[in-house]
C-alpha cells in the first residue's frame, strides 16, 4: 500500500461545547491528494471535524497540522483559503452567479475578470450563459456547482465538502461526483467529503473515516466499509445506527 503524506493530521484533538464533548479524542490523518470520505450517524461530529480543519473552530486540546504545520500558525483568513469548504446547502449571496463567483476575490479587494469566471463555470460543467443569471433562480444541482466553483477560485490545496449531494437527484449527484473526481485528478486537490451515502463513499473515496459519537472508530481504505472490523461500524453500515 502506498503511504501518502498527510494533508491534515489530527493529534489527540478534542472539541466540546459547554463542557459537553462533541468530538475527540481523535488522532488520524487525511492523506494528501486523495479523496477521503467522512461517514457516520447524524450527530457524530462530522461537520465539527470539517470546521476544525479550516479553522472555523479550534480544538479545546490537541493539535491539528496542515501540511505538517500547526493550524494555529496560519492567519485565519489564509488557512480558510488554503482549506476551502463547500457548505451543505450551498448558500448564495444576493445577486447573479457572477457575484457569487467573484465573492472570494472581492473579499480580498480583487476583481474576477469575466472570461475567467466563464472558464470556472465551464470547469464545473455549466455554460457561460449562467454567468448573469440570478443565483436564486438556480436548481439545487446548479447551486452546488456554483458553490464548488466559488470554493475553487481561492485555489485551495484542500477542499472540504459537507454533504453537498444529499439534496440532489441521482443524475445531479453523479455529475457532482465525477466533477469532484476530476478536480482531484486535475489539480491534485485533497478532498475531504462528508456523505451519508455509503455506496458513494466506497465508489468515490480512496480512504474513509468512520465517526461515531465524536470518536474516530475506523479509518483506512474505503473498502473497509464493505466488511467493518468494529461492531459499531458494522451496525452503522447495516443501518442500525442513525
Amino acid at each position: 500500500m502506498t503511504i501518502y503524506e498527510p494533508a491534515i493530521h489530527f493529534m489527540d484533538v478534542r472539541y466540546s461545547i459547554d463542557n459537553k464533548p462533541i468530538v475527540g479524542p481523535i488522532t488520524g490523518s487525511f492523506p494528501s491528494g486523495r479523496i477521503t470520505t467522512l461517514v457516520g450517524p447524524s450527530g457524530a461530529g462530522k461537520t465539527t471535524v470539517l470546521k476544525l480543519c479550516n479553522g472555523l473552530l479550534s480544538p479545546d486540546s490537541g493539535e491539528i497540522l496542515i501540511d505538517g504545520q500547526s493550524a494555529t500558525t496560519f492567519e485565519p483568513t489564509d488557512l480558510r483559503r488554503k482549506v476551502g469548504m463547500a457548505l451543505q446547502d450551498a448558500p448564495m449571496v444576493n445577486g447573479t452567479v457572477y457575484d457569487n463567483l467573484a465573492l472570494p476575490l472581492r473579499l480580498q479587494k480583487k476583481e474576477l475578470p469575466e472570461p475567467d469566471a466563464i472558464s470556472w463555470l465551464e470547469d464545473v460543467g455549466l455554460s457561460g450563459d449562467y454567468l448573469h443569471k440570478k443565483a436564486s433562480e438556480l436548481s439545487g444541482g446548479q447551486r452546488q456547482k456554483v458553490s464548488i466553483a466559488r470554493t475553487l477560485i481561492n485555489r485551495s490545496d484542500i477542499l472540504l465538502m459537507d454533504e453537498i449531494t444529499s439534496a440532489l437527484d441521482k443524475a445531479s449527484r453523479r455529475e457532482i461526483e465525477s466533477l469532484i473526481t476530476r478536480i482531484n485528478q486535475k489539480y491534485g486537490t485533497t478532498i475531504i467529503w462528508i456523505t451519508h451515502n455509503l455506496e458513494q463513499a466506497i465508489s468515490i473515496g480512496d480512504y474513509t473515516w468512520v465517526l461515531i459519537s465524536g470518536e474516530l472508530i475506523e479509518t483506512g481504505d474505503s473498502h473497509i466499509l464493505e466488511d467493518p472490523a468494529d461492531e459499531r461500524v458494522r451496525r452503522f453500515v447495516k443501518g442500525e445506527l442513525q
Partner: protein
C-alpha cells in the same frame, strides 16, 4: 390649569375603566396601576425639575442627565443579552450621542445653556437613543440568527468578521433608522408632534413652536443614525474571537 380642571381629567380614566368592567376586558387593574404611576412619576419629575431650574446649578443638571442615561441603559440592555458586554456598549453609545448633540447645541449657541433647555432636550435625545438601540439590537440579533449560513460562508471563503456580518449590520442600521426618517416625512400632515402641541397649548407662538420642533426633529435624525451605527460597530467584534470564529456556533 385649575386643580378642579386637573381633577376632571380623571373622567378620561373613568371611561376605559367602566368600558373594561362592562365588557369584561380585564384592563381595570393595569389601567389603575398606569394611572397611579403616571401621576406620581410625572409629579415627582415636575417637582425635581422645578427644584433644578430654581437652583440653576450644573451639578444637578449633570445628575439628572446621569439618571436618565442610567435608566435608558438599564432598559435597552435587556434586549441585547446575546451580545457580550452589551451594557457598556449601550452606555458608550448613549453618552456619545448626548455629548455630541449637546456640544453642537451649546457650542454653536443654538439653545441657551440653562437647565430649562438642556434637560428636556437631553431627555428626548437619551430616550430616542434608547429606543433606537433597542430597535437596532432586535433587528441585528434576528439578522445574525437568520443569516448564520451567510456569515459562515464568508468566513469559510477567507473573509474577515467585518465582511462576514457587513450585510446584516447595514441592513439592521437601515431598518432601525427608517422609521425616524419616514415619520418626519408626514410630520405636521397627520398629527402635530407632542412637544409642539404642548407649547401651543401652553400659549407659545405656533411659528416659534414649529421652529423648536424642527430643531428636535433634526436632532433626533442625528440621534437615530449615530446611535445605531455606533452600537453596530461596537457590537459586531464581540461576536467573534481572535481566531475570527463565531463565538456562538450551532453544531451538526
Amino acid at each position: 390649569m385649575s386643580p378642579l380642571a386637573l381633577f376632571l381629567t380623571l373622567i378620561f380614566v373613568l371611561i376605559p375603566l367602566v368600558l373594561s368592567k362592562t365588557l369584561n376586558l380585564g384592563l381595570e387593574r393595569d389601567t389603575i396601576i398606569a394611572t397611579v404611576r403616571s401621576i406620581t412619576q410625572l409629579f415627582a419629575v415636575g417637582y425635581i425639575l422645578k427644584f433644578v431650574f430654581d437652583s440653576d446649578g450644573y451639578l444637578y443638571i449633570l445628575l439628572m442627565i446621569a439618571l436618565m442615561i442610567f435608566a435608558a441603559v438599564h432598559n435597552a440592555s435587556k434586549k441585547g443579552k446575546a451580545i457580550p458586554g452589551i451594557l457598556w456598549k449601550i452606555t458608550v453609545t448613549i453618552v456619545v450621542v448626548e455629548l455630541l448633540t449637546q456640544a453642537i447645541l451649546l457650542g454653536f449657541g443654538i439653545v441657551p445653556a440653562t437647565a430649562q433647555y438642556i434637560i428636556p432636550i437631553s431627555g428626548m435625545v437619551v430616550g430616542n437613543s434608547m429606543v433606537l438601540s433597542i430597535l437596532f439590537l432586535n433587528r441585528f440579533t434576528a439578522e445574525l440568527e437568520a443569516n448564520q449560513n451567510r456569515t459562515e460562508l464568508i468566513l469559510s471563503l477567507g473573509g474577515t468578521p467585518k465582511q462576514a456580518v457587513h450585510t446584516q449590520l447595514t441592513d439592521s442600521i437601515k431598518a432601525s433608522t427608517i422609521p425616524t426618517i419616514e415619520s418626519q416625512k408626514t410630520m405636521g400632515l397627520v398629527q402635530l408632534p407632542g412637544m409642539m402641541s404642548g407649547q401651543i397649548i401652553a400659549g407659545a407662538d405656533p411659528v416659534q413652536a414649529v421652529q423648536f420642533q424642527l430643531l428636535i426633529l433634526f436632532l433626533l435624525l442625528t440621534t437615530a443614525v449615530v446611535s445605531s451605527i455606533l452600537l453596530g460597530f461596537l457590537s459586531y467584534p464581540s461576536l467573534f474571537n481572535e481566531r475570527m470564529q463565531l463565538i456562538r456556533q450551532k453544531n451538526d
